[in-house]
């Protein structure tokens, strides 16, 4: 039962160390995705399946895709194709694939093994989370919507192109 916690914890620590030590940005991004997936597995083991799904969908899906978009946008140029061919080398994705295979083997072991549900944990599913989220924490939901609105407006304002008239002084 404890291997549902300790194996993903080891994978998370190793992949995070590789994130902050890798020189290639795309390589670091792959290791960060592995770290997030292993933490999602830890959440699943801790009895929070809804949060595990959110971690995979939003963190490893949406936020990391944003990072990939920005890296791709910053590499427009004649050297982009050569860099992309360099990223597809086996050296780049060998480590993340290895760590992901560890997580996948862990998942297969948990699903197929007879020890399913023997963790003794109380599972707080989406229903309990939703009841509390829209009960005592409804003001927090409103504030979160304000934060998201501010983030969207800020990203739109910062991401627009400079107008021709204000480019001399509007370099913010």
């Amino acid at each position: 039962m404890n291997s549902l916690f300790y194996v993903p914890a080891a994978v998370a620590v190793i992949s995070t160390i590789l994130v902050i030590t890798s020189l290639n940005t795309v390589n670091a991004l792959l290791y960060a995705i592995i770290s997030l997936l292993s933490i999602a597995l830890i959440f699943f083991g801790l009895g929070a399946p809804f949060i595990a799904a959110l971690e995979v969908i939003i963190y490893a899906g949406a936020i990391m895709v944003l990072f990939v978009f920005v890296i791709m946008m910053l590499n427009v140029g004649p050297q982009a194709i050569a860099e992309e061919r360099q990223w597809l080398k086996i050296k780049v994705w060998r480590g993340p694939v290895l760590l992901a295979l560890i997580l996948m083997g862990e998942l297969a072991y948990v699903i197929s093994g007879p020890s399913r549900g023997a963790c003794g944990l109380t599972i707080n599913g989406p229903k309990q989370v939703g009841m509390v989220l829209y009960g005592p924490y409804v003001l927090g939901v409103e504030l979160a919507s304000l934060v998201l609105l501010a983030g969207a407006i800020g990203a739109y304002h910062l991401g627009r192109r400079d107008q021709p008239g204000e480019s001399d002084r509007g370099q913010s």
Binding site: V19, I58, I71
Partner: protein, 102 residues
């Protein structure tokens, strides 16, 4: 949280937070700095989940949802800033932006 002691979960969160902090302090690529900030936010969320699982309450998961929302807003603004940074300085080195009036 019967199977795993709570201290181990909190220790894992502390290790991941420390690694993210080292990444912020050491790396000079601005995208990797943002990535390290994401790691730190994620580890704090892990601490919330561990505590919520310890006391069998869904409040830790609520806090994780709020952290997730804040991280999404932060990373959208941060990556827009990265784009402006790159168009202005033609590099991703944060040491190039050491003056206020760039």
């Amino acid at each position: 949280m019967a199977a795993v002691p709570m201290e181990h979960g909190l220790l894992l969160a502390a290790i991941l937070f420390a690694l993210g902090l080292i990444g912020v302090l050491v790396r000079r690529n601005v995208i990797l700095v943002l990535l390290s900030i994401e790691i730190m936010l994620n580890s704090s969320g892990l601490a919330f989940i561990v505590a919520g699982s310890r006391w069998v309450q869904p409040d830790g998961q609520i806090m994780f949802i709020f952290i997730l929302t804040m991280a999404a807003a932060e990373v959208s603004v941060g990556l827009a800033l990265v784009l402006r940074f790159y168009h202005h300085f033609k590099t991703l080195d944060t040491d190039r932006a050491n003056t206020m009036r760039g």
